[in-house]
Amino acid sequence: MRKIFDFHGGIHPPENKRQSLGEPIRDAGIPGQLVIPLSQHIGAPSAPIVAVGERVLKGQVIAEAGGFVSVPQHAPSSGTVIAIEERPIPHPSGFRAPCVVIECDGRDEWLPHTGIDNYPGVSPSELLEHIREAGIAGMGGAGFPAAVKLRQKPGATVDTLIINGTECEPYITADDALMRERAADIIAGAEILRHIVGPAETLIGVEDNKPEGIAALRAAAGDSGIEVVEFPTKYPSGGEKQLIEILTGKQVPSGGLPADIGVVCQNLGTTVAVRDAILDGRPLISRITTITGEAVAHPGNYEVLLGTPISHLLELAGYDATRNNRLVMGGPMMGFTLTDTAAPVVKTTNCLLAPTEAELPTPPPAQACIRCGLCAEACPASLLPQQLFWFARGKEYEKLEEHNLFDCIECGACSWACPSQIPLVQYYRASKAEILQQRRDHDKSEQSRLRFEARQERLAREAEEKEAKRAARKKAAELKARQAATGAENEDPIQAAIERAKAKKAAQQQAAGSESEVDKLEQAVVTASKRLQTATAKLEQARAEGSDLVDALQTGVDKTRAKLEKAEQALADHRAAQGNGGALSTGAEAAPVDAAQAAIEKARAARAADADLSPRDKARKQLESLQQRLAKSEKRLADSRNAGEEDKIVEALEASVERLRDKIAATETELATHAAAENH
């Protein structure tokens, strides 16, 4: 006799199993429609590979695995795909999810399929591939892809393979029924798993409340080496970690997997599905589901095609909606309330519970926690449910994690034990989800931060590159300018030569085309006389009005007259010179003579013009020139000061400025006397 261990805590709720064991497994038949959700398992949803309107055969793949942790889906019966759309699914949220809907033709026509005759001669990895292609996901409730769970890490050894036939939740008898009726299939499946995993020992764990099942299994196992272990009934001994502890005495480390301590655990239903897949080539298209509760007339176990609407099953079992207070999928401890009976049976639907109000009453309002500690005594994971409850209410997520919230298996033993009817598990589920959400958000924000920083870096780099380019361009331009400047200096003699040549040419042209020169001079005379006219007119007007501007206008008129005279003189001289030049010589030599002559004539004209001026005008002219000189000198002085030249120079400049100022003052007085004299 094998040594049996015990785990901490646990409860003994009423079993209520005999109601559904009165009759053998019945076939639920083929419903009118089958609704296959694409996500019946843990992991990525499957991807549909059939089109609407396509005819499918029983066992045909209708959706393939959407990732490594995923399984394909198969058509449970022959018919036509009439829709791929969102339909209600069995989920506590009551949400709809993508499903493939098949209209059954009732012919139940199989796709040709064959099993593997001699599986011991086939490698485990090939068998795992078959299991994966058969769409097998854990049928105990969680729905984890079986092939992924059975795949071993390289180098890891498995001491114990455990087939979980515990079925510890009240009401559920699906595995019990399998043991009673299909013990040989279970043993065959266990043999296949043993071949794949290669453990030192293979155990089938069953609670002692299923004596018929145990007897059948022992008879089927014979001397195959597969040991059927019987142990006392206690909830939740069917929990994977609890069962491992019961059978081996070893505890799975917190946050670890059974594989870490050399154990692989599979559900009994999954084992049968593996046998069907390997020996018959039959994918997972049906399962045994318990329908029980006082609101159904014929409780029992049904072999149901996956995708069968729950309403179809309920009808078979004689469901009385008026007596039912709520419809539960799963057991009374870990199940959830179904919101829609149109939802289908899926790979994890082990039980449909339709209790009356008296049977499973609506929980009364929760009372305050009295810190009795019953929950801690009941907890199979040795946690402190009471502390967790306070932290969950206070949303102290860090504390929750410190108190190993994630080791909670959500078995509901604490809620069941609580005398204040506090829905403790609900708090833990919500807190777990919240923490996971926060982790996801944190990962997302971390990603966003990295992207943001990468972008900032990129922008900075681009700005830098732009700046560098701009600087390079500027430098190039400067270099070019400098080159041009130095080039000009270098070319100076040439440039000068060019300039000289140009000047010569211009002079020649001037000599050659004197007509234009004459024109110019004539033009000048005309403009000057015009100006004189306007100026005189203005002067007349000013005089008539008695304006203050008379003096200024007078000066203007005088000046214009002088200019006119000059222009006339220049024209006359030019004409005379041309006449002379033409007589004396032609060509280049004529030009200098002309120019000198012109200068002399100009000077003369200027003197003559000056002589014509009144003393007052002379004084004014002098004043103007003095003022110009003063401005120049002052500028010079300022420049010298700024340039920081020697004191002597600055002093000298200052002295000259002073002198000029004196002169200006003198000239001004002179001008004033002239003005006074004229006015008198």
């Binding site: 709720p13 009423p14 996500s39 989920h91 506590p92 949220s93 949400f95 999810a97 009240p170 539960v328 799963g330 057991g331 009374p332 401890m333 870990m334 199940g335 959830f336 309330t337 049977e359 499973l360 009453p361 609506t362 929980p363 009364p364 309002p365 929760a366 969950a392 209410r393 949303k395 860090e398 509901g412 033993a413 809620s415 069941w416 009817q421 829905p423 598990v425 609900q426 708090y427 589920r429 919500a430 807190s431 989800a433 919240e434 996971l436 959400q437 926060q438 958000d441 997302k444 924000s445 971390e446 990603q447 966003s448 931060r449 992207r451 943001f452 990468a454 972008r455 900032q456």
Partner: protein
């Protein structure tokens, strides 16, 4: 010298203390240089808590500057995308009282994802330039689109769009994001089973 000191015990004590002071001072000085922390660790921790939407609703150009501002004493309630959870986390970290969200900077909203109505997009690239996390794909005169998984829902792309073709679509709860809620206190009907205690008593 030693004799002189031994004659004056007060002097000996004084010298000993000064000597010790000098030794420890040198040690501390060395440690300060040798084990110098780079950057501002508090600002880093704060930045770690902020949601990194880079939306600028707090009045800072990004989450990092706000984290630095908080480290320098700015209020912790200016982050609408983070909401209550962020305020609580910051209050925990900085050991201050949590305060309600400052409404001036916006309200806590359901997380949204930008969606470009692609028929209306004229390909101006203005939203691409506005996106702080490079979550918009496109080129000049080409249709743009948002990479939903990278979008932080910061709203910054909505304003610059000249044809107003960007919608902020609130993310609805789906099967992947759904989770159990905390039970309401005193609520009679909770959808968790695990309570057939009365049956047991009756049985």
């Amino acid at each position: 010298m030693l004799e002189f000191i031994s004659q004056y015990p007060l002097l000996a004590a004084l010298l000993a203390l000064v000597g010790l002071g000098a030794v420890f001072g040198a040690l501390l000085g060395f440690a300060a240089v040798r084990f110098k922390t780079e950057g501002d660790p508090i600002a880093d921790q704060i930045n770690d808590i902020l949601p990194q939407t880079q939306c600028g609703q707090c009045g800072h150009p990004g989450c990092r500057p706000y984290a630095e501002a908080i480290a320098n004493g700015e209020a912790i309630n200016k982050c609408p995308p983070g909401g209550e959870a962020t305020i609580h986390a910051l209050a925990d970290l900085l050991d201050v009282e949590p305060i309600p969200l400052d409404e001036e900077h916006g309200e806590e909203k359901v997380k949204a994802v930008a969606y470009i109505r692609e028929d209306e997009c004229i390909g101006c690239t203005k939203c691409i330039q506005a996106c702080p996390v490079d979550a918009i794909l496109g080129a000049a005169k080409q249709m743009h689109t948002v990479i939903a998984s990278e979008c932080t829902g910061c709203d910054l792309c909505v304003e610059p769009c000249p044809v107003d073709c960007i919608d902020m679509i609130p993310q609805e709860e789906n099967l992947q994001t759904w989770h159990w809620q905390l039970p309401e206190l005193g609520r009679a009907n909770v959808d968790v089973i695990a309570s057939d205690l009365d049956t047991d008593r009756a049985a």
